[in-house]
Amino acid sequence: MADTATGRTTATHATRILGIVTLAGVAWLILFGLILSPADKNQGESVRILYLHAPSAWLAYLAFIVTAIASALYLFPKQHSLGWDRLAGASAEIGVLFMGMTLVVGMLWGRLTWGVFWRWDARLTTTAFLLVTYIGYLAVRRLGGTPEQRAKRSAVLALLAVLEIPLVHFSVELWRGLHQDASVLRPNGDVELDGLMLFTLLSGIVTFTLMYAWLVIHRTRTLTAEDMLDDVGLELALEERRRESIPHTIEEKGALLS
């Protein structure tokens, strides 16, 4: 996000370090996930998808939780701070990206393990609803109006999502009486994670958490810059209008006088 004219960026010393650590983490994850960790005895090589799938699901959930908390922090205090709103928006964008990735990667894994891309179980279905809900949230953020209008609308919506998601999950679970009790760590009940696999998975989660922090800081800063640009743009437009109404040249002044 470098501004070439002034050399200003959204990066600071701290985020540069965070970025480097994140990239190192990704390299580390590739090394352990693809090379050092063993194949699963039931799932074979496809278990490696887990090292991408579980951390990105974790990141998405983390992002949505941050969105909800930041929305509450915008809405409830007497002094509404737009900073919280931008954090909520930035976090939701990253959440949608990684939730989409979780679903795509999960479907690929499902095709390899179950033989089908999709199963109508509660967790999968709720995840899909979660994705659509936050796509809607991002659409609401783009409705226009002042930043305060946007912030209030989207904060209420984010908190409504907190109401909605447990209800959806609960009802889909009721609907699928045969819901399998699978945790993130045991996707099919038959993956036995040995030490190295567990370590790889944990490295993935740590790396993705760092990645989230890195992305969300930059995105919040660019959103701040966008809002500032809107303000500046408005002022410039007003200034231009004002100038239009003032006659500049002698001819113009003469035309007005005659």
């Binding site: 609803f129 909605e164 209800l167």
Partner: protein, 227 residues
């Protein structure tokens, strides 16, 4: 409290009066829901299957109609800035929410009754005598639940550009529990699947949904429409 209820009733009456004078729901939305039921028939083209899935189709057709009714309800408000005028006049946002929800629920209830009758004629559905109470309970809970959630999200999208396309995206994922719950309950009541007793927990799910979104809407409607 008495004044609040008076305002709420006034708002509901006003909504229904607007509808009665324009007859948009009666002349356009109800026939739309009816044609959706006919189209489902064309698409499925299997009498036995139709009877089995009729409850789901009834609820689905109701939801499509809900989207149009909500849009209509708020288009009327924002055309002349009526919503702002009402707020400026000191009408509390919760009374506004309840009034609009009650009017919406009345329209939805009428629509659902019509769709059940259509299902009996078109899909060969039958109502078991033992399922009548369940059917009525689900009918009331689903109408209220859909009306409150519709009013809430309608308020969110009101006055915004592109609300026509935004509302379905926001609303349909939220009403999924009603689709699941009401479908199962109506299936039990009509005898399409399972016993009547199986249907009551599903009715409960719809009722919980209605209570949750009624409470959520009462609190959140104010901040949403005050801009």
């Amino acid at each position: 409290m008495k004044a609040w209820w008076g305002t709420t009733r006034l708002i509901a009456k006003r909504e229904l009066l607007v509808e009665w004078r324009s007859r948009i729901a009666l002349n356009q939305v109800f026939p739309f829901a009816g044609i959706v039921m006919v189209m489902f028939g064309f698409a499925i083209d299997d009498t036995r299957l139709m009877e089995r899935i009729a409850p789901g189709l009834i609820v689905l057709a109701t939801m499509f109609a809900l989207l149009i009714l909500v849009q209509r309800s708020f288009a009327v408000e924002s055309e002349d800035g009526a919503l702002d005028a009402l707020r400026t006049a000191g009408v509390s946002s919760s009374a506004l929410f309840w009034g609009k929800s009650i009017a919406m629920a009345v329209q939805l209830a009428a629509l659902e009754a019509l769709l059940v009758v259509l299902a009996i004629f078109l899909y060969g559905s039958t109502i078991r005598p033992s399922g009548v109470v369940l059917l009525i309970a689900t009918w009331l809970a689903a109408s209220w639940g859909l009306a409150t959630v519709g009013t809430l999200y309608g308020g969110l999208a009101a006055g915004a550009r592109g609300r026509e396309t935004l509302l379905p995206l926001l609303l349909l994922p939220v009403v999924a529990p009603v689709l699941i719950g009401a479908t199962r309950a109506v299936e039990a009541a009509l005898g399409a699947r399972g016993s009547v007793a199986d249907g009551w927990p599903w009715m409960g799910l719809v009722a919980v949904f209605a209570v949750v979104f009624c409470a959520g809407g009462t609190l959140a409607f104010g901040p949403l429409i005050d801009e």
